[in-house]
């Protein structure tokens, strides 16, 4: 090893002299101290890897010094010098993790063996640290590869789901074209209108799939801004109100006007809320639950411990337990032909990126409520 410094502590000057010569002879650079206090001072200044100390000293004794050194620098190797009758002290010192002890009068060979052990331990510790660091690096690398593999698996799943969605849409386009063709062929305006509407609807769908897929593929690190959390909610309300009215669904905006500004990515939150409100509207206009008055509520609140909570509640058809468990999965959809199965997954991804939570409560026939909670954060991220 490279660091050949040793701190020698003994209250007897003779012993310091003799041992100093012996240690220098072996090849050490020797620092000496006559008591515990001085030893500590020197140690803190020079941090030698090995300390050789007498166990019985006035003031701070060897055991106290040992404990202090071990608590300040646990890697330090401390060898104790003990008198003949100090066996209990010697054992006590081992308990406090002394490397070894040598008894007075000191036999040079025994001292050298003790020193060798100390050095071996230092080398071993260094190697161990190196191995550990290597191991950590290795684990890190493997983990990264595993995550990569998982991402690839998700991509495979995504591709399969995508193929299904595209097949549906191309079927819709082909159907639309057929109806349009018939309209032109028979000079029937009703068919032309219907066919053209189908084509437009399906082009719209494929656009949505592409957009949602892009959002999904993007590594979403939110673009945080310090802003009014009611902003995205108001935008969604204005955007979706005409559609809700068209479908005969009541749409209520209930904002907590006193919400302070918070750090969030307003565009992502806009998208997340849009997905939820679109779903709510779909649930309210589902043919299986047209029998009752439907309402959607978009609410902002500030629950204890969170920066903001968004609620999107509807009195639409609700979900059964099985459906509720699957809503955040890739390509899961209850909308059949209309859904891509990406909306809620993207929504969850956005909320996850904000370190927030998204929860759903739903009862079949009663309605559904989604809760998004965004945590407090400060600007420096």
């Amino acid at each position: 090893m490279d660091d050949r410094r040793i701190l020698l502590v003994d209250d007897e000057e003779d012993i310091r002299d003799i041992l100093g010569i012996v240690l220098t002879d072996i090849g050490y650079e020797v620092l000496t101290a006559e008591d515990g206090e001085q030893a500590l001072q020197l140690f803190r200044e020079f941090t030698p890897p090995i300390v050789l100390t007498d166990i019985k000293m006035p003031g701070m004794d060897g055991i106290d010094l040992l404990r202090t050194l071990k608590s300040e620098a646990p890697d330090t190797e401390v060898i104790m010098i003990t008198g003949h009758g100090d066996l209990d002290l010697a054992i006590k010192s081992l308990k406090y993790e002394a490397t070894d002890f040598v008894t007075k009068p000191i036999n040079d060979d025994i001292l050298e063996i003790a020193l060798q052990r100390a050095e071996e331990r230092i080398t071993m510790k260094q190697q161990l640290r190196m191995y550990t660091e290597n191991l950590e690096r290795l684990v890190e690398e493997k983990t990264r590869r595993l995550v990569e593999a998982e991402r690839m698996a998700a991509v495979g799943q995504t591709a399969a789901g995508l193929a299904h969605a595209i097949k549906n849409i191309s079927g819709g386009l082909a159907g639309g074209m057929f109806v349009l063709d018939k309209g032109i062929e028979l000079d029937d305006d009703a068919y032309v209108q219907k066919g053209w509407k189908m084509v437009k609807g399906n082009v719209n769908k494929i656009n949505n799939v592409a957009l949602e897929l892009l959002n999904f593929a993007k590594e979403t690190s939110p673009n945080y801004r310090h802003c009014d959390p009611n902003g995205p909610a108001r935008e969604i309300y204005d955007l979706m109100l005409p559609q809700a009215q068209e479908y005969g669904v009541r749409f209520v905006l209930d904002l907590d006007k006193d919400l302070p500004h918070v750090w969030l990515d307003p565009e992502s939150i806009h998208r997340a809320l849009l997905n939820l409100v679109t779903n709510a509207l779909y649930a309210c206009t589902d043919i299986r639950c047209t029998h009752k008055k439907t309402e959607i509520a978009l609410v902002t609140r500030r629950p204890e411990g969170w920066a903001v909570e968004y609620q999107v509640r509807d009195t639409g058809c609700g979900m059964d337990e099985e459906t509720r468990q699957k809503v955040f999965r890739n390509f899961f959809t209850t909308k059949g032909y209309d859904g891509t199965g990406l909306g809620l997954m993207v929504t969850k991804k956005i909320i996850d990126a904000h370190s927030g939570v998204i929860e759903v409560e739903s009862e079949k026939g009663k309605g559904t409520a989604f809760y998004i909670r965004i945590p407090q954060r400060n600007g420096i991220q």
Binding site: N168, G175, Y191, G195, M198, D286, Y337
Partner: protein, 138 residues
């Protein structure tokens, strides 16, 4: 003889419009329904010559309506073309598994077409199952 009546039962609007157009423009009279319940009602009211039934509908789905149709004396002779997104093999396997319990057994439909259906396929299969049915009646 008047126009032959085709009842289309599918929850997807696009699919109803498309199949309706296919049959309307080929000289059939078309009725459509959005789910099994409405489908059953229309079948009972009008007694169609052919039913095109989507298997995968929300709610009870097409299988329930299919069972009901095959269970009613007046309706069980109406030929049915099953329609769904699953492959033909998967569908028949599914049917076989369902039919393991004899008391719940359901007969195979007259025809099965995988979604999305082609216009020519629909017409060809429709013509053949209705033809067969007429022969049997005679």
């Amino acid at each position: 003889m008047g126009k032959q009546k085709v009842l289309i039962v599918d929850d997807e609007l696009d699919m109803r419009i498309f199949i309706s157009t296919v049959f309307e423009t080929s000289g059939y009279e078309v009725l459509s329904a959005r789910d099994g319940k409405e489908g059953m009602r229309k079948a009972q009211e009008t007694g169609p010559d052919l039913i095109i039934l989507d298997l995968m509908m929300p709610g009870e789905g097409g299988v329930q309506m299919y069972r009901q149709l095959k269970g009613e004396e007046d309706l069980k002779a109406i030929p049915i073309i099953m329609l769904s997104g699953v492959g033909k093999k998967t569908f028949y396997h599914y049917l076989k598994m369902m039919n393991i319990k004899p008391d719940e057994a359901i007969p195979e439909p007259e025809a099965y077409i995988e979604k999305p259906p082609q216009a020519e396929d629909l017409l060809k299969v429709a013509g053949s199952v209705m033809g067969k049915n007429t022969e049997e009646e005679e």
